[in-house]
């Protein structure tokens, strides 16, 4: 069974469109994250949620809106897509009530904006 899954794996869309990426984890974790990997392979945090509550919003444009319907899901909605949004987006999760802070990553969603 896949621990952290994302859909879709690839997303090609035009500038100005609105799109969503979905993430689900079956690890029973309370905390979920979105990271962005740019064209130079640099990975940076965008958001983190703990039990559906937003904890980190790392100066991301407000065109990006995360939504957590329950603690197993964290979706990312992007409005008015721009060329610079092209990147790979990774979802991750981690436990809270254990002595480890290890984060587990999904397979990534490659977004291409044309």
């Amino acid at each position: 069974d896949t621990a952290v899954s994302q859909t879709p794996k690839y997303l090609v869309t035009q500038m100005g469109n609105d799109k969503s990426i979905k993430c689900e984890q079956n690890l029973g974790h309370d905390t979920m994250y979105w990271y962005k990997q740019d064209s130079k392979k640099f990975l940076k945090i965008m958001f983190s949620y703990n039990n559906k509550e937003l904890i980190i919003n790392e100066t991301v444009p407000n065109r990006f809106s995360p939504k957590s319907p329950d603690k197993a899901h964290l979706n990312l909605h992007i409005n008015s897509l721009e060329l610079g949004d092209s990147a790979v987006y990774f979802c991750a999760s981690s436990p809270v009530w254990t002595p480890t802070y290890e984060q587990y990553f999904g397979p990534g969603t490659r977004l291409t904006v044309t």
């Binding site: 905390t31 980190i56 802070y101 290890e102 984060q103």
Partner: protein, 110 residues
Amino acid sequence: GIQVEQSPPDLILQEGANSTLRCNFSDSVNNLQWFHQNPWGQLINLFYIPSGTKQNGRLSATTVATERYSLLYISSSQTTDSGVYFCAVGRGGTASKLTFGTGTRLQVTL
């Protein structure tokens, strides 16, 4: 914020060779992870190692938290080891972020 530096940035090895990758970080941490990003883009957890030493097959890692560095050892490298190796660190509690280094790109040739 915390700074993470990895070295070397690029490494080319012949199959069978050994290598050491280094990660320096600028502040105390309670999370340190090593990842392998394979040529298909998947991020694979290698080690969760905020301190101490761990081994998994041909790979091992050591973190000296007091001196703010971690080392990843790859022995008897194989072509499947090719890809980018990232070190990422975190501090703080619930939902705290990982800060990634810029990675070491490894190419293992026949």
